[in-house]
């Protein structure tokens, strides 16, 4: 049986010597293998008696068979003594977590299965090969988007974007660790491999025309540049777009009548409103309908007191509310009577399957503007998609095309106190039913409500420094203890831990490079489209042919 043979072409790096299904396995490394050649987060394959297990290295340790060794050190400067002691009294071990069982026969295309057993004692352990990785994570093709490489090999790690957007996903990481690069890549995956449309709240103008590469300096192409036919840029700040010489398709204007009391409620913290003041807009809306905002900001002097007594609300609270809301009227995208309904145009684009980048221009630095617009738009989308789903249910249809809403600074919308009130909290919890999911991008995941966090099915995390953030990202993950040791040792650049529903096993990846013409053409014309795909098997075959026949 092929499954019972050790894959002789690979070097045995160790043997299973301890462990359990719940704790993971301990592998004693062969003395010929230096522990420094194994990285935390890499993959190994364990050849059991009947199964081939794939496992992730979650810890590395040094051990001594003789506990008195450290008190009575041999002369390790002598090469002979060093060689004698190494591997006999001292040993290196790996802690690994088996995740999947590979098909019994190498190269078999059948699916991997979840590991519900563990390999026998002394089963040999190998480094995972390119074929093994492809068996688990799939090849780059029309279904799978290439997102990065494992740490120690050049195999392409792929993710199925349709799985990614089935439920909400999150990209986390400290500032400057490459969240935006990753999110941009993921959005390209969604754009290329799914029917979904997307709305990106682009706080810092990094997704549309071009973005900044702070490490290498200069600009990198945005989604509109790479996929002009599928991406539409809406701007809230026409002046900034012009200054940046950035193309845009529409200028968004928000009318007074577009602003809802719920939008003000979500600004309670940002505008420093009291609970009493935050509830007044609901009273105003009951009384004046869609004109409530106009009515409030235009009322002055004694008329304000009269209005307060008419509505039976505290005059001071209403005055405070009015003063704060006057700030909103100073935004140049807030217009009393916009000439056209830009929000409807935006919704139409999304309904048509376009990907919309909403640039905030200079308003990106103003949290009030960001929260207001994001809430306002998302609420409308939510209502629209709810209607569309209900209509489609009535016709027994498949519902509207999926929509992904990409928000940065997500903890501002999903903090424990307000997650239950904001529309984003509701979407994270239940809008999968209406085909809307979130892609949250955040550097403070500990600030996100734990109930919302549990709904984020796929998580991609770059380096996080704060332990609370690490705990928050890993909360609910079955292997959180092991993954914590991996996550806390990421490089600050281009490395991310990927785990959750959309990926078969947690994996540490080097993010795919993004930023020059060659990489752009790989993105816009991937190998599976152009037919120039060369898998690792093809490369091996070519190398063998070259070895046989020389230069052909």
């Amino acid at each position: 049986m092929p499954s019972q043979q050790e894959p002789f072409q690979h070097e045995i790096i160790g043997r299973v010597v301890d462990g359990s299904l719940s704790r993971g396995l301990e592998i004693k490394l062969e003395s010929s293998i230096s522990i420094e050649d194994i990285n935390n987060g890499t993959y190994v394959v364990i050849q059991g008696k009947h199964n081939r297990f794939v496992a992730m290295v979650t810890d590395l340790s040094l051990g001594a068979a003789d506990q008195t060794l450290k008190f009575s050190l041999p002369d390790m400067s002598d090469p002979l003594i060093r060689e004698i002691i190494t591997g006999s009294l001292t040993y290196n071990s790996l802690s690994v977590r088996p995740g999947k069982i590979l098909p019994a026969v190498r190269g078999d295309q059948s699916d991997t299965t979840e590991a519900r057993t563990i390999p026998e004692f002394f089963s040999p352990v190998f480094r995972a090969s390119q074929d093994d990785m492809e068996s688990i994570f799939g090849k780059e093709n029309e279904n799978n988007f290439f997102i990065g490489h494992p740490l120690d090999m050049d195999t392409k790690i792929c993710v199925d974007p349709r799985q990614l957007i089935k439920r909400s996903c999150g990209v986390f990481g400290r500032s400057g660790t490459g969240k935006t690069f990753l999110a941009r890549l993921l959005m390209i995956g969604v754009l290329q491999h799914t029917e979904a449309s997307s709305l990106i709240f682009d706080m810092h103008n990094e997704y549309g025309e071009s973005g900044q590469d702070n490490d290498r300096g200069g600009a990198v192409s945005g989604l509109k540049t790479l996929f002009p036919g599928q991406v539409s840029i809406f701007t809230l700040d026409e002046k900034s777009s012009k200054l940046r010489k950035a193309r845009y398709d529409e200028v968004v204007k928000i009318g007074y009548s577009d602003i809802e009391p719920e939008d003000i409620e979500s600004l309670t913290q940002t505008l420093n409103l009291s609970d009493v003041a935050a509830s007044i807009p609901f009273t105003l809306k009951n009384r004046f309908g869609n004109k409530w905002f106009k009515r409030l900001v235009e009322v002055e002097g004694t008329a304000a007191s009269d209005l307060a007594s008419e509505l039976e609300v505290q005059p001071q609270a209403m005055r405070a509310l009015r003063n704060r809301l006057l700030r909103l009227t100073r935004f140049d995208f807030v217009d009393e009577n916009p000439q056209y309904n830009s929000l409807e145009r935006l919704l139409d684009k999304l309904k048509d399957g376009m990907h919309v980048v909403l640039e905030f221009g200079r308003h990106g630095n103003d949290l009030t503007a960001y929260i207001l617009v994001a809430n306002l738009l998302t609420r409308r989308l939510h209502n629209k998609y709810r209607e569309l789903t209900e209509e489609s249910d009535a016709d027994s249809g498949a519902g509207p095309k999926p929509l992904v809403i990409c928000i940065e600074e997500a903890h501002r919308f999903l903090a424990p106190g307000i997650a239950s009130q904001t529309i984003f909290g509701q979407i994270a919890r239940e809008d999968r039913k209406f085909n809307i999911t979130l892609m949250v991008i955040d550097q403070r995941p500990s600030g996100i409500d734990s109930e919302i966090m549990s709904q984020i099915a796929t998580r991609i995390s770059c380096l996080l420094n704060d332990e609370r953030d690490v705990d928050a990202v890993l909360s609910g993950s079955p292997n959180s203890r092991e993954l914590k040791s991996v996550l806390s040792r990421l490089n600050s650049k281009q490395e991310a831990l990927f785990f959750g529903d959309a990926i078969p096993m947690p994996i540490l990846i080097r993010t795919r490079t993004y930023g020059d013409d060659e990489h752009y053409s790989d993105l816009t014309s991937p190998a599976w489209k152009t037919g120039h795909q060369s898998s690792s098997c093809d490369k091996d075959a070519n190398r063998d042919l070259d070895a046989l026949f020389g230069d052909r």
């Binding site: 003789d66 002369d75 002598d78 002979l80 003594i81 060689e83 004698i84 006999s88 009294l89």
Partner: protein
């Protein structure tokens, strides 16, 4: 060289499963401490753990004779009978036996016979022993084997093997595992081995 090795150097005069004692045919011509010897037609292999020279007749105590001599050699020249009255004996601990021309490590199923010829070992027999240093376990278990004897034995075998370094590493690793929990003892042996 072959002829020299073919000639017996001693004869077994005492034997049990664990050890055998042999009397050398020539005075002071014992194999060195720690060396590998074989006894009998179906050989039992042993490692020399003790060497002694004594009078043949235990009832005749040996007396000093060098009062008028100036060198040690002169004593033997002036007293030629000494060469007949004295004899050199050595004791070896059994570490293996021969079966189908292979050296199997471990105690033999029966000890060598009395008067069995004792030969020094050939290099291929040494390489059989050195490829698998299980004999170290036997030596360590034997109460008469001191660490010095063990070290001498390992050094002696290492000098006669083709790949001295590799043998010392194998022997050292076996020792390290056998002496787990006795780091200072292990360190003392390893220090001698590297010399």
């Amino acid at each position: 060289m072959r002829n020299l090795l073919d000639r017996p150097i001693a004869e077994v005069i005492e034997a049990n499963i664990e050890t055998f004692k042999a009397q050398c045919y020539e005075l002071y011509k014992s194999p060195p401490l720690g060396s590998l010897v074989k006894a009998g037609d179906i050989p039992v292999y042993g490692i020399v753990i003790d060497i002694a020279t004594e009078g043949l007749d235990p009832s005749r105590p040996i007396a000093a004779r060098g009062f008028s001599a100036t060198t040690e050699q002169e004593i033997y020249t002036q007293n030629p009978q000494l060469m007949e009255l004295l004899c050199t004996k050595f004791r070896a601990i059994a570490v293996g036996f021969s079966r189908d021309n292979l050296l199997i490590q471990g105690y033999p199923f029966e000890p060598p016979r009395i008067h069995a010829f004792v030969h020094e070992c050939l290099s291929d027999e040494l390489s059989d022993l050195s490829s698998n240093p299980d004999f170290i376990h036997l030596l360590l278990q034997h109460p008469e084997v001191k660490d010095e004897i063990l070290t001498a034995s390992i050094i002696s075998i290492s000098k006669q093997t083709n790949n001295r370094e590799a043998f010392l590493v194998r022997a050292g690793k076996t020792l390290a595992i056998e002496l787990t929990g006795q780091m200072s003892r292990l360190n003392a042996i390893l220090r001698k081995l590297k010399q």
